[in-house]
Amino acid sequence: MSDDRRVVGTARSAVFSTYDRLFVGRGRLQQAVIGIVLLAAVGLVAAGLLAPQSDAGRLFAVLTADSTLAATLRLSVPIAFAALGGIFAEKSGVINIGLEGLLIISAFVGIWATDVTGSVWYGLIGGVLASTLLAGLFAIVCIEFRADQIIAGLAVWLIALGLAPFLSSVIYGSKNSTSVDTFPTLPDMGIPVLSDAVTAPMPVVGVAPVDIPFFGALFDASPPVYLMLLAVALSWYTLHRTAFGRWVEASGENPKALDTAGVNVHRVRYAAVLLSGVLAGVGGAALALGVGQFTGNGPTMVNGKGFIAIVAYLFGNYNPVGALASTMLFAGLDATQLTLQARDVFQVPTELVRTIPYVTVIVVLALFGRTRIPSAGGEHYESGEDE
């Protein structure tokens, strides 16, 4: 009895606290939008259950298909890794707008290294190395030579945007590389026990993990997806629970405080920027190794994902988990957009459907966009001597 009451009480307080979080302290416009979104969500679920043949019902079906989750996870990989990298760099006070460039260079080198070595894993390492090198150059330029971080970041992007297709042209005779192997999915990897476990029916329910509706996609993904989830957890842990994480925060908020506490600010910033190179490198290599080819025409295959990553971590308020959530929101919109088009659900022109993620970013930014960047973000810091 008392248990029941406690459950009810907990539920009620959960409802109230959710309500508070959503509505309290917001402007009327924001409240209205949140309200509309909630209503639409409820309406969608209702339509999905009651009128599966209506457009709304089919939209619900699309949203809850496990292919949608699978696509969302895949599309999230490069963005989420770049966003994690961006968090480390920017939290330490170095705004890294060159994430796009890091993705591009690692995408190309990932393919090249795979082609040369024949192993996607070496390819991944190669991509990470390339991206880390470029991030190191960026770090030196910003930290040693006090470059304006925005411009230097832009330069990193432009250099990669030129260099990757250049190298591809030199090596492969065209801006598009040759095709190489790709990452297998978990069930296909042949990892003893694990690969079988996800495809075998579970004891009580009698369904294999990969066949679970919607969430089955979680068990049928490729290694980069698991790496991404792992990286998010590790990043969160590093930032919030280790001394290094505290130093990164202090370095971005008040570098002088860190300096006077006896920690070398430059070294922390170097580490953070290099880490952003490593993370973005995994993302870029995973992106290219997902399709097994580097495409170097125009904005290359990365095509703005580095910039979306910046949006993602700003939305996520520099929290790795938040960044993953907003990444999945964008990737999910993208995935849904493709599926809606294929299934011909709404008769909206494809070109306009493609703008949905971008417009969403703008609208959300306009309504809720007040993120607070670290106090010392973008500022050069020089200890003692040169002041």
Binding site: R146, A152, L154, L163, L314, L365, G369
Partner: protein
Amino acid sequence: MSFSERAHDLLGRLVRASAFERFLISTSALLLSVFIGALIILGAGRMTDCASAAYTIAVPGKFVTTTLPGLVPGVVKSVLPGGLWPSQAVFAMGFCYDPFAVYDLLFLGALGDVLNNPLNSQFATTIAETTILMFTGVAVAVAFRADIFNIGVQGQLVVGALTTGVVLTYVAPPLAGLGVLATIVLLPLGLLLGGVAGGAYAAVPGALKAYADANEVITTIMLNFVATSIALFLVSREKYFKDPESFANQTVNLPDVALFPSWLFRARDDVSLLAFAFAVVVLVGIWYLLQHTPFGYDLRTSGLQPDAAEYGGVDADRTIVSSMTLSGALAGIGGAVYVLMVLGNFQTGVPDYGFDGITVSILAGNNPLGVGLAAFLFGVLKSGSIVVQVGSDVPPTLVGVLRGLIILFVAMPEFFRMIGQKFGSFGRPGEPVATDGGSGGGSDE
């Protein structure tokens, strides 16, 4: 004071003059990029295969092994008797690409045979590229000076071009019979349309920044994608504005009277000295606006020190919106020029003039007059890259690498100052070239 001291002093003072300093830094950045670009060409020349070397590095070089003994055989013998003189290279490495040849094609190729025929078609391409880059460059510069990072110039250019291309499709044909008179009406109208559309499209992120605190870097990037998609939507469907006669996604061709007259150049070169002159006038006009009008003063003040601008009675929000609008209008006019000078209609797949504009502006230190020079440099690079591709085996994407390197080096003036200080003690420990066009703070103690 000795002569050398005086010269040194003069040099030091010149270096302290910030415009001159910017120029020095930009030039050094350019040279350094070209040097590193040469190394990349050599490196790439080792990564590819070819029948014979285009370029060889030998130690000792040919001068020592061949030329010198030929010139002064006696001297050589007297220095090192008994065949000790190196008659052939001890070390030599061949490269498939010759950096000097590549740069020759890149920089001189872009000018064509300009001395004999200043109206040659390659030089025409260079001028055409320069003209459009002047607009996008100054568009970025205006925003930069107001401390706004308008990455959306590309999108604003697309919207401007689209509007001009589409609207003139309806306005121009009825007037086509009027000849020059039609041009006098249609050209300004086309430019105005581009300017208004680009300005309106830029006002959106401006207003979002001013009144909703939305970061303009992100909103403008997003709006670039949106502009491209909308343009594709409108010109890929015959029920809207697609040319039904063409496979390509484009509007119908505008009558010649609506376009920039080619005058001295041949029509096929898609260039107009009138458009070029117009771009020059716009640059000077923007310079005047920034330096000599209250609006320019407000804009520069809020770019350098928003708090001081507010203190000086500048309405910060309105300045953000109006500078963004001006920036977008310039980009939109650039789009209109692209349609009215180069294409003759609107077509999807607009080149990256907007992103090049960022590079141009940064290289020019966000100075409207400097934009002219920087735009010409990039006009040369863009036009020259075509010559490189046709005339050599070096991938023209090299130009993209050079572009990135130039920006990187321009971003780190400290590097050049440190080098400068090794050779002399002039130069003040300055601030980096900043996105707001340079800001500093003096300390009191």
